[in-house]
Amino acid sequence: METLMEVKNLVTRFYTQEGTVYAVNDVSYVLEEGETLGVVGESGSGKSVHALSIMGLIPSPPGKVENGEVIFRGRDLLKLPSDEMRLVRGAEIAMVFQDPMTSLNPVLTIGSQITEALKLHKGMSNREANHRAAELLELVGIPDAASRLNNYPHQFSGGMRQRVMIAMALSCDPKLLIADEPTTALDVTIQAQIIELVKRLKEEFGMAIIWITHDLGVVAGISDNIQVMYGGRIMERGSVEAVFGDTRHPYTLGLLESLPRLDEESGVREKLHQIEGSPPDMRIEPVGCPFAPRCPYVLDKCWEQQPPLEPGEGSEANHLKACWVDVRTAEPNPVVAEEGVA
């Protein structure tokens, strides 16, 4: 497998009136060609901001990518001048957002929005672009595609709009598709349709995918590798089988135990395991491990030193965790929830 993209020491911050938000803190990873990477995290974990940083879409001010490199096919995207970055965005890296209503322009037809990228990046004529747009709509499962090119976004349902977004994203045959919570706003039966569609398109186009979500169930079904983020850092990363089957980070472990399961009889667990406390306030400069205040395995040094992201003892070489503790042997202590006001 060839490396498609390497993210090194990415740091993104927002300088707001209420103080500095430490959104992404030293994130590094390698993405292979054709890999599907699931990025899991709660709100404020930095999962979306890290993707926007890669795309050069951080609004500045107040945001700023303070440090790091994003080497995509030999070039550092963070150092590209904006006109060159425009040629990468949409052509080589495409993005699908959570809310398909706000990411489509309501006053332009679907056709004109899809053909825009084709004309810009591929230099197609109007007629060629329209033809290709109709093919793309058909590919994402929109019936009667050619005539729907003249429709406006409000004439489509939520699931159909997300299909249009995917058609737009794939129009220039990108090497990487970043999908930021693409199914969160959709109902579960429509979510299943979209996931099935993306799986099929991936086989056809062979692009790599970064799928950002808070739903551990969704990543379990589609990813090769997963990356769990918390407090702007990667907590655990590895193949989907390793992270779910041989979990090494207390946060991942806590999340998995707190989830009820569809295939589990009711009443098997009287109470759900709960992670005490609240997610961290990202306006406080991170010192030590961000999960320390909620961690049942916490040690003294967790408060001072951020553990490096490295393979755990006896785990697969590409299964990394950022934790000082070996959760297989350590004894959890009850966490006393801090009575704080956010």
């Binding site: 109902d187 299943a192 349709q193 089988e241």
Partner: protein, 345 residues
């Protein structure tokens, strides 16, 4: 097998469903239609959105009944219509044998003490200009159930009970996180010591790591205070965990109703089957082996439901009668397990 013309008798017999067969809330033929109007000055009604269309079920004392379905299926409207926050278009809602749909004014207000609601969005459901103490004590001041000089102590106890520090009584909602705000909303709902609570998506706006905290709290309170919940949700995994029985809604109607494990292990209605198969399970090994039933198309508009069975536009197993015969009735197939489908025999 008995058909539904659900008199209270036919449903109370199946005491195996509820915890003790004692009916607290009884809903019969409930309809809520919202008019669609056209015109700017002279508004004419040009149609109706049939948000809830002939729904019947019982809620047993002490149980948690889950009400699930996709957005727009009428589950929230059902909850609000039961509480008379919307007045029903037709049908009856009985609470402990008393008919609510014809009650008005003071009489209805008295009943409201007994039934409360927890809302989805803890950011929108708390008045930002009121302190926590005022928010939680507002129902007490309206219903005058607690003397003024004991109010502070009462509210502090309530806050403690829902896991908040009573010291926060004078703070304002913006100072709290989402999970803490939801606890404030729960304290407000409990202030009048109700017996029935409609929880409308109480955890879906919360982070994953906070959801378990709130669900555990709701379960503890249920035991302590002998509460009955109507738990409206779209997270089917969570519903299995906390509900005794579950009702599945599609386009304003209940398509399946039964004990939770029974419905999940042996779903009768094709919609329930598809819905359950679409829920992802956080386990890659299980996920690789699962067969999904992928429904085509979208939910039709409740303003213009299809002729015949409501589900016929997306049903993978629809037969010819499903397209022209009237809606299939909700029929009891095994004790306590009801489904509305021509295909289930």
């Amino acid at each position: 097998m008995s058909t539904v013309a659900p008199t209270i008798d036919t449903q109370t017999q199946k005491s195996s469903n509820g915890k003790d067969g004692d009916v607290l809330v009884s809903v019969r033929g409930l309809k809520k239609h919202f008019p669609i109007t056209s015109g700017i000055i002279l508004q004419r009604t040009v149609g109706h959105v049939k948000a809830v269309d002939d729904v019947s079920f019982d809620v047993y004392r002490g149980e948690t009944l889950g009400l699930v379905g996709e957005s727009g299926c009428g589950k929230s409207t059902t909850g609000r219509t039961i509480l008379q926050l919307y007045r029903p278009t037709a049908g009856s809602v009985q609470f402990e044998g008393q008919e609510l749909s014809t009650m008005k004014g003071e009489e209805l207000r008295k009943m409201r003490k007994r039934m409360q609601m927890i809302f989805q969005d803890p950011f929108a459901s708390l008045n930002p200009r009121m302190s926590v103490g005022r928010i939680v004590s507002e129902p007490l001041r309206i219903h005058k159930t607690v003397p003024r000089n004991q109010m502070q102590e009462f509210v502090e106890n309530l806050l403690e009970r829902v896991g908040l520090n009573p010291y926060f009584i004078n703070r304002y909602p913006h100072e709290f996180s989402g999970g803490q705000r939801q606890r404030i909303g729960i304290a407000r709902a409990l202030a009048l010591n109700p017996s029935f609570i409609v929880a409308d998506e109480p955890i879906s706006a919360l982070d994953v790591s906070i959801q378990a905290q709130v669900v555990n709290l709701l379960q503890e309170l249920q035991e302590e205070m002998n509460l009955t919940y109507l738990f409206i949700a779209h997270d089917l995994s969570m519903v299995r965990h906390i509900c005794n029985r579950v009702a599945v809604m599609y386009l304003g109607k209940i398509v399946e109703l039964g004990p939770t494990d029974e419905v999940y292990d042996n779903p009768l209605h094709p919609y329930t089957q598809a819905l359950l198969s679409a829920v992802p399970v956080p386990d890659p090994i299980v996920e690789k082996q699962r067969q999904r039933i992928i429904l085509t198309g979208d939910v039709p508009s409740p303003a213009n439901p299809p002729i015949g069975c409501n589900f016929n536009t997306r049903c993978p197993v629809a037969l010819e009668p499903c397209f022209h015969e009237p809606d299939p009735p909700l029929i009891e197939h095994t004790p306590g397990h009801w489904a509305a489908c021509h295909r289930v025999l």
